[in-house]
């Protein structure tokens, strides 16, 4: 059979984000896949070297559009670690709640992308609608729908507005009320099983060798979660579970996403109950003259896609000397994707890519 060169993306309905994969196909089978990133490269890390510590907050959230909040969190964590700023107890809780809300929103976006890819239009529309409800919460809290810039070194920008707790609970209940619908139409659907089972399998050994984190690893049964391994914010204050699956294929990964979403909602309820009163913000020095001592730091947190890291170097100036993000999509989208696509069928390219949860701007930065 003739070998064809096929470009999957960047202009493609099944592609989420500006990303492209060059496929060498024979019939319906993929012989070789080459990820081709760079469509979104803005040189963030270079630009951040030119801006002061505080000015970088609006920059940093733009790295990941789907879940900008964990980006803010990681940068705030890095700055706090370098400058030795303490965060009040209540701010820890608010941060955790905020990040978990963002995780729910991000997972719903992922569910939209995945369901849309498989042709589950109805479920996709529901998921996007429910994500919008979460975005409404963010809008009330921070004023922005997508980019919030809410987390600040030393805490969060402001406290919860009045009655916000109830709003969170109500919104999450109304989304949670639809979980049986999702289960019936999507997760327990036989056709979802047929489409996703055994597709894009990444075994434990492969995932470990290639630096997989997040769902890729949890779908193989390992409870590796930075929130648990190296707790930050208030994640060690309340009990919660790390959902896992065994098989490491697209089916397991999407199920892990679903379980994680539900676990996040439960965690938010627990955090809301346990939240102490008090300050939410420790004052930082004048941001225009703020310098940070000559140091380096590596911090990490768990974004909705996996381990998110930040290597931050200061040379004692008012700007970072070097910023480098370790984004989960980077390994998932470049190393693991190329391996998982080998010998797959063309119909499953988007299936595998989205189940690996690749967000292109995270790769390119």
């Amino acid at each position: 059979m003739r070998e064809l060169e096929l470009y999957f993306g960047p202009q493609h309905l099944g592609m989420v984000g500006n990303f492209s994969i060059t496929l060498k196909v024979e019939g319906d089978r993929i012989l070789k896949a080459t990820a081709n990133p760079g469509y979104l490269h803005r040189g963030f890390e270079k630009l951040m070297e030119l801006r002061s510590w505080i000015k970088n907050f609006p920059m940093v959230c733009r790295i990941n559009v789907v879940e900008p909040d964990s980006m803010e969190m990681i940068y705030a964590m890095g700055v706090e670690k370098l400058a030795g700023i303490e965060v009040p107890e209540r701010a820890h809780y608010i941060r955790s709640i905020y990040l978990e809300l963002a995780r729910v929103g991000s997972h719903l976006f992922g569910l939209w992308a995945y369901a849309n890819m498989l042709g589950f239009d109805t479920v996709a529309q529901w998921a996007m609608y429910h994500r919008d409800l979460v975005l409404d919460l963010f809008e009330e809290l921070t004023g922005g729908r997508v980019y919030h810039i809410y987390i600040w070194p030393g805490g969060v920008r402001r406290d919860f507005p009045e009655g916000f707790k109830d709003k969170i609970v109500n919104t999450l209940h109304s989304i949670g009320g639809c979980v049986p619908d999702y289960d019936n139409t999507f997760f327990n659907n036989r056709l979802f099983y047929e489409r996703a089972k055994g597709i894009g399998t990444v075994t434990r050994e492969e995932a470990l060798a290639m630096g997989g984190t997040g769902q890729v690893l949890r779908a193989t049964g390992m409870q590796y979660d930075v929130r648990r391994v190296e707790p930050y914010a208030a994640y060690d204050k309340v009990p919660w579970e790390v959902p896992t699956r065994e098989d490491g294929d697209a089916y397991s990964r999407i199920w892990v996403v679903r379980d994680e979403m539900i676990e996040s909602v439960h965690m938010i309820f627990k955090l809301l109950d346990a939240m102490p009163e008090g300050e939410v913000y420790n004052r930082i020095p004048n941001p225009f003259k703020w310098t940070i001592p000559n140091k380096e730091a590596y911090v990490r947190c768990e974004s909705s896609r996996g381990e998110l890291g930040l290597y931050l170097v200061s040379n004692g100036g008012d700007k970072p000397y070097r910023v480098h993000f370790r984004t989960p999509s980077y390994t998932h989208g470049l190393t693991i994707l190329e391996k998982a696509l080998k010998n797959a069928s063309i119909a499953d390219v988007g299936n595998i890519m989205i189940s690996l949860y690749v967000v292109a701007p995270e790769i390119d930065r």
Binding site: P10, Q11, H12, L13, M15, V16, G17, N18, G38, Y39, L40, H41, R42, G43, K46, L47, L50, P58, M59, R62, V65, V66, F109, W112, A124, Q125, W126, M128, Y129, R131, D132, L135, G144, R145, V146, Y147, A360, P361, D364
Partner: protein, 185 residues
């Protein structure tokens, strides 16, 4: 449909067709794409205005350029724009294609997108809300009504200049010129 609409339909069916059937290229050029799924799904439902994402540029007549344009994306954007059949409308979404936005000093993003392809309208903001897309669509309707959405004509008229700018930014282009002999400007 009231009488005015009906008269318009009878007078210029093609124009009305363009107005109410804006099929958009689904091209995630930047972070603006995050607001496109909400606006085409249940909450905001762009389909009631006839706006629908389609799979290939050949089937489309609206090009939403969502967000910043890196140099590598510009190549894809130009190819996509040239593949679309005329008449076609392009709308810059977000502040980054207007003047670079917050990436004004990035070495890898295009600052003024209208130097490379003609743009019929801009939606400012970062991130513009889904409502902004609909405002833009209604605005585009008036532009089409008044024959002011003439980006594709400008592209034809000033093709040499556009092509020169594209080559300046991207180096040698690997595809032949779209219009060969028309040198009006």
């Amino acid at each position: 449909m009231d009488r005015n609409q009906l008269i318009k339909w009878l007078k210029a069916p093609a124009k009305m067709g363009h107005k109410y059937s804006l099929h958009a290229v689904y091209f995630c050029t930047g972070c603006g794409i995050i607001e496109v799924p909400p606006s085409i799904t249940a909450r905001w439902d762009a389909e009631r205005f006839g706006v629908l994402p389609v799979a290939t540029p050949r089937q489309a007549n609206l090009f939403l350029i969502t967000g910043y344009v890196s140099v590598k994306t510009l190549r894809a954007i130009i190819r996509t724009y040239e593949q679309m059949p005329e008449p076609k409308y392009s709308v810059g979404f977000g502040s980054c294609p207007i003047n670079g936005g917050m990436y004004w000093d990035s070495y890898n993003t295009i600052k003024h997108l209208d130097k490379y392809i003609p743009i019929d309208g801009w939606i400012a903001g970062c991130m513009p809300r889904p409502e902004a897309i609909f405002v833009a669509v209604t605005h585009l309707w008036t532009l089409i009504d008044k024959d002011m959405a003439d980006g594709y004509k400008r592209y034809r008229d000033h093709y040499q200049a556009y092509r020169a700018n594209q080559e300046h930014a991207l180096g040698k282009l690997e595809w032949p010129p779209l219009f060969s002999n028309e040198t009006k400007s």
